[in-house]
């Protein structure tokens, strides 16, 4: 398998606290990997390291053979890494369509001059962009409500809008931060289905953080477990379920009678 993202010996400290230390993580093209761990284990910090929100104090992050260190957030996004947020971050004045459009903004190949003058090149690009947005909205079942303000939608649909926003630019790696948070079981099932299908459709690798074990165990091919910023285990869902270090992190130490 071809390597997509490779994190090596990556650490970050906030004051005296090592939020992530010496993390190694390899993701292959088209993978579906889960990242679990108790609260405060550093999972979201890993996302912030990959997407350039934080600069690692040590270590390397390489995406498709290119180091991400020192790149700014939008530069990393343009390389093909997108994300969703733990607390939904939608644009408060934009509709569903416009929210998705914002994610494809950087692929509008006509620039500011083109946008204001609107020549033939502009219309060519806009037509293609419009097609891609509508295709994505169709795929995620949001076409009917594309003119609604994104924030007026119920919670589950807001999450889905974030998902489309992350996918529409055809990234090679999508980071999903607790996509199933606050959902009931049937919504979770629907979401798992959608994530699986979206991966097939867009051909992207997915790294997801999730607390809900039914989701993680249900769709992930591989799972990495973090605790206190250290990767304590990695393997298939079955291996993780029986890993003593994982059980200890979640349930506490076994008391021998």
């Amino acid at each position: 398998m071809e390597t997509l993202l490779s994190i090596k010996k990556c650490s970050i400290h906030f004051g005296g606290l090592a939020a992530v230390s010496e993390l190694d993580l390899e993701l292959e093209r088209g993978c579906l990997v889960g990242m679990i761990g108790p609260n405060g284990a550093g999972k979201t910090t890993v996302f912030n390291l990959i997407t350039g929100v934080y600069k690692p104090s040590a270590g390397s992050i390489v995406f498709e053979g290119k180091s991400l260190l020192g790149l700014k957030i939008p530069q990393i996004a343009r390389l093909g890494i997108s994300r969703t947020f733990q607390n939904i971050r939608l644009f408060k004045s934009l509709t569903v369509y416009q929210t998705v459009q914002a994610a494809i903004h950087y692929q509008a190949g006509y620039g500011l001059m083109g946008a204001t003058i609107q020549g033939p090149k502009f219309h060519r690009y806009e037509k293609r962009i419009d097609g891609e947005i509508k295709e994505a909205l169709d795929f995620f079942g949001l076409r009917e409500i594309m003119n609604e303000p994104a924030l007026s939608l119920p919670y589950g649909l807001q999450r889905r809008v974030e998902l489309v926003r992350a996918m529409v630019s055809r990234p090679r790696l999508v980071l999903l931060d607790e996509p199933a948070a606050g959902m009931n079981q049937s919504e979770k099932n629907q979401l798992m289905n959608l994530i699986r299908r979206a991966r097939g459709f867009y051909g992207c690798g997915i790294l997801l953080i999730e607390h809900d074990m039914s989701v993680v165990m249900g769709i992930c091919e591989r799972i990495a477990v973090l605790d206190y910023g250290i990767k304590i285990a990695e393997g298939s869902p079955r291996e993780i379920q029986n890993n003593p270090a994982v059980l200890e992190a979640y349930l506490g130490e076994r008391v021998e009678n």
Partner: protein, 315 residues
């Protein structure tokens, strides 16, 4: 998306109409004519600030500074070229306005860069300071007349110049707002982190908003200078910036038509209130308070408000 030719048609049709209307300028009283010109200049000022404050969400309080730079630069250019004499007005005025706009946008770039690190109140105070710095520098430049002002500027601004430039600016803003590129401005305004994570460079958005906004403020300054024929630094003080901000806020941040209407009404209002002379500014201020309480989203935020922008974007 269906190609929308309507805005372009409106722009092209409006130019001869403005030209014809401009022919009538001798037949109305100079007082009314002056108000009509001020309305047009204020539309340009408020719309260009709307790009910075309303679209890109960067609360700027230094717009009069950009206007001052445009006014002085263009006045300088026409006084230098005009000294040679003989050239027809457009050949002198057009480069003068463009030069004034360019000088202002260079300054916009200089203001735009520090704003990358500043938000909200801090940004407002910084831009306020920048505007004052510009004013004080001009006040101390002797070749610009210092505090005495710049006198003897040729009267070149007329109805056609003002309104065709206003129409052009509105056309450009409308196009921008209805493009995938322009959505980036709104996204950065709404949530910078989410926008950047989606590949939008907030830096580029903010700086470009300042550059374009300042460019048109500079042109408005040039138009103003060549209408009143005498400018001094006091005309471009904080109050001027404040007036423009009020127009944007009352019109509805980010609403193109709203800001045009509010520039219109807020230019007429103080004149209409001359009848009650001493209470004029009191009533004006009270009206602002009432409007802000009753319509916090902007008094005229209908028409090109979000709903419609959306509808046409989705077509």
């Amino acid at each position: 998306m269906i190609r929308d030719h309507k805005p372009k048609a409106v722009l092209i049709l409006s130019l001869p109409v403005f030209w014809l209307l401009g022919k009538l300028q001798g037949s109305i009283s100079p007082y009314y004519y002056q108000i009509i010109i001020y309305i047009g200049i204020n539309i340009i000022l408020a719309s260009s600030l709307n790009l910075i404050n309303g679209f890109a969400g960067q609360f700027s309080l230094g717009h009069a500074g950009f206007m001052a730079i445009g006014a002085y630069t263009s006045a300088l250019i026409t006084s230098l070229i005009g000294a040679g004499g003989g050239l027809p007005t457009p050949l002198v005025f057009l480069p003068a306005l463009a030069g004034g706009g360019a000088a202002a946008s260079v300054c916009g770039l200089l203001v735009g860069i520090p704003t990358l690190r500043l938000k909200g109140d801090y940004l407002a105070i910084t831009t306020l300071g920048m505007g004052e710095i510009i004013r004080v520098i001009i006040q101390n430049l002797d070749f610009l007349g210092g505090a005495r002002g710049f006198t003897g500027i040729a009267k070149m601004t007329d109805f056609f110049w003002v309104y065709s430039i206003a129409a052009l600016l509105i056309y450009l803003l409308y196009n921008l707002l209805h493009s995938t590129y322009g959505i980036g401005y709104l996204a950065v305004r709404d949530d910078e982190i989410a926008a950047e994570s989606a590949g939008i460079s907030a830096t580029r958005i903010k700086v470009s908003a300042f550059i374009i906004g300042a460019f048109f403020a500079g042109i408005a300054g040039g138009l103003y200078a060549h209408f009143v024929t005498y400018i001094n630094p006091a005309q471009f003080g904080f109050l001027r910036s404040f007036e423009i901000v009020v127009m944007v806020v009352i019109g509805g941040m980010g609403s193109i038509t709203g800001v045009i209407f509010s520039a219109l009404i807020l230019t007429i209002l103080p004149e209409a209130l001359r009848a009650v002379a001493m209470y004029r500014m009191v009533i004006y201020a009270l009206l602002l308070v009432v409007i802000m309480i009753a319509r916090p989203g902007g008094l005229f935020a209908f028409g090109s408000g979000r709903k419609k922008a959306t509808a046409s974007a989705a077509r």
